[in-house]
């Protein structure tokens, strides 16, 4: 009962914040709404007793992804009016994507028809000392070892690719080496020349 009430409360907030993400005019506010949406979905996962997943969602998305996102958004001066210029041109494509997403949501809601069983009944009440983290870790390193390791390698490759793309030497690239700047001495920059006084002309 209590869980149901909480679910609807947090579900409603989640939907509202998600709407806020796409309607807010200021990009930083959008990011903030997204943070709130992540926190609310974490709460919903907590209600499903998936505490490890819920906390990882907060650690990864709020603590890392959104910080990097804010980083970018704060540095950009996004011109909202310019973004809206192509609205009518892209509207049909957007409508198509919206339709596909809506159908997919419908399929998930009526998941019983796909033969996946009643997912709502799959939440089993566990004793208070049940360790969600331990069980997940056990599964990841036994049954799902290969998918897990492959995902890790793919992520590593992506990281290496991102770093090599940004760190490669480009023509005309300007790099600041603070160590060199600080180590500069006066004689590296200024040349004092001794010369005799010239006769007045």
């Amino acid at each position: 009962m209590m869980v149901n009430v909480l679910f609807y409360v947090f579900g409603a907030i989640l939907v509202l914040t998600a709407l806020g993400v796409i309607t807010a005019r200021n990009p930083v506010h959008c990011a903030l709404f997204l943070v709130a949406a992540f926190l609310n979905s974490a709460v919903i996962w907590l209600l499903l007793q998936a505490e490890f997943l819920a906390l990882t969602l907060v650690v990864v998305y709020v603590g890392a992804v959104m910080v990097l996102w804010l980083f970018v958004v704060m540095m950009l001066d996004v011109d909202v009016e310019k973004l809206r210029q192509g609205f009518t041109r892209y509207a049909p494509l957007g409508a198509l994507i919206a339709l596909v997403v809506a159908v997919q949501i419908g399929l998930v809601v009526h998941v019983r028809k796909l033969g996946l069983g009643d997912t709502a009944a799959a939440v089993v009440d566990r004793p208070a000392d049940h360790s969600n983290t331990q069980e997940l870790g056990h599964l990841l390193y036994t049954q799902y070892l290969y998918p897990f390791e492959i995902a890790a390698v793919i992520l590593l490759v992506a990281i290496v690719a991102a770093i090599t793309l940004t760190m490669r030497d480009r023509p005309g690239q300007k790099v600041q080496d603070i160590g060199k700047q600080v180590a500069v001495r006066a004689k590296d920059r200024v040349r004092l020349v001794k010369m005799d006084a010239e006769a007045r002309q």
């Binding site: 200021n26 906390l55 980083f71 360790s131």
Partner: protein
């Protein structure tokens, strides 16, 4: 949740809040006084409280300076910049302080409490139930710590961005990149402890530090993971943005960094959250590496010294001793952090990031690998 459980939870929450806010207030004074002692000065000694209708002035080593500061912050004008983002500006201080307070919910500040034995008149009401002295004895305790410390990053970044000030924005960007780098180091060092004790539950981690190793050493985390302890403390001080890692608010470069444009109590909230975070980092360090509330050779019934000599203690004394032990250790850690703050100069910005990614991170990974191999060799 029954009524006794609820009452106990309320008592715990009140205790935790009282401890944290007291630490926050006292540490402002400790910082001044300790800095004064370290640099051979007298330090804060002017503020006093006069007992009404007498000439008796209570100075108490300048302890009332904190009170005077608090009053000053509360009574000052709340000055706002001309162009600022209202939503983010208002959220900033809250996101800075609330997660710091919430982290303490998973920190065990004492052993097991048996309220029925403590207050015999209430024994029937409690029905012999016992409670671990921890507000939220949940399994994924360490994850909670990292989840909440991630939210504080957003607080600092929002505060800097919303102020519409270039110095603040620079401070916010510095805060974001610094905190994200050092959080990674912190997470990796904690993994060693998780491997050793086989759990992410902070309560269980402290319980497993109650015995002894080799017959005489207390089985604290620092004995198993001395390396990780040092790395954790470094990363912790960096997370708290204090010297030598105070670049987000470096006053000689950025005025006051991301909270330059905050005044009155809003600025006070940022300051208070910094001081509370000193205590929280101390509490986490004590929990993970210094055996939490455990004293060497002490268990739930009293002391058992290595020679076989036993000193039994009543439950009440054990509880009080555990609470005081925890607070004492946390205070020592806080004092150590202040010692570091008044000893070292500030990093340069590129050095700071290089230190995290090219020095601390490889060390943390090496520590993790060595720990894993050692444990594997022990089990095989």
């Amino acid at each position: 949740m029954t009524a006794p459980d609820f009452a106990i939870s309320l008592v715990y929450i009140a205790y935790a809040l009282a401890v944290l806010l007291t630490f926050g207030a006292i540490l402002t004074w400790v910082e001044r006084k300790q800095a004064a002692i370290m640099s051979d000065r007298i330090g804060a000694n002017r503020a006093y409280v006069r007992i009404p209708f007498t000439q008796v002035k209570l100075i108490w080593l300048g302890l009332f300076h904190g009170m005077a500061d608090g009053l000053k912050l509360l009574l000052k004008e709340d000055f706002k910049p001309l162009a600022y983002d209202k939503l983010a500006y208002a959220l900033g201080p809250w996101l800075a302080i609330v997660p710091v307070l919430l982290v303490f919910a998973v920190v065990p500040f004492g052993g097991t409490l048996d309220p029925g034995r403590l207050f015999p008149s209430l024994a029937e009401w409690f029905g012999g139930r016992t409670y671990p002295m921890q507000i939220a004895p949940i399994d994924a305790g360490i994850l909670i710590v990292f989840a909440f410390s991630g939210i504080t990053i957003i607080g600092a970044m929002l505060a800097g961005w919303s102020s519409a000030n270039k110095f603040s924005l620079l401070g916010a960007l510095r805060a974001g990149s610094q905190l994200i780098s050092y959080e990674l180091v912190m997470g990796l060092t904690v993994l060693g402890i998780v491997l050793i004790f086989g759990t992410v539950n902070l309560g269980t981690i402290v319980e497993r530090q109650s015995g002894t190793v080799l017959g005489f050493l207390p089985a604290w985390g620092i004995v198993y993971q001395p390396f990780a302890a040092v790395l954790f403390l470094i990363a912790g001080i960096a997370e708290n943005k204090r010297i030598p890692f105070d670049l987000p608010e470096a006053e000689s470069e950025l005025i006051s960094g991301y909270f330059t444009e905050y005044s009155a109590m809003k600025q006070g909230v940022f300051m208070l959250s910094e001081f509370i975070e000193i205590a929280v980092i101390g509490a986490l360090f004590v929990t993970l590496f210094f055996g939490g509330y455990n004293l060497p050779w002490m268990n739930d019934t009293g002391f058992v010294f290595p020679g076989g000599h036993a000193v039994p203690l009543s439950h009440g004394w054990v509880v009080v001793l555990q609470l005081l032990t925890f607070l004492g250790k946390v205070f020592l850690l806080c004092s150590f952090q202040i010692l570091v703050r008044w000893t070292l100069p500030r990093f340069r910005w590129d050095q700071l990031l290089r230190f995290a990614w090219k020095f601390l991170l490889p060390l943390a990974i090496a520590n993790l690998v060595v720990t894993a191999v050692a444990l594997w060799a022990q089990q095989a």
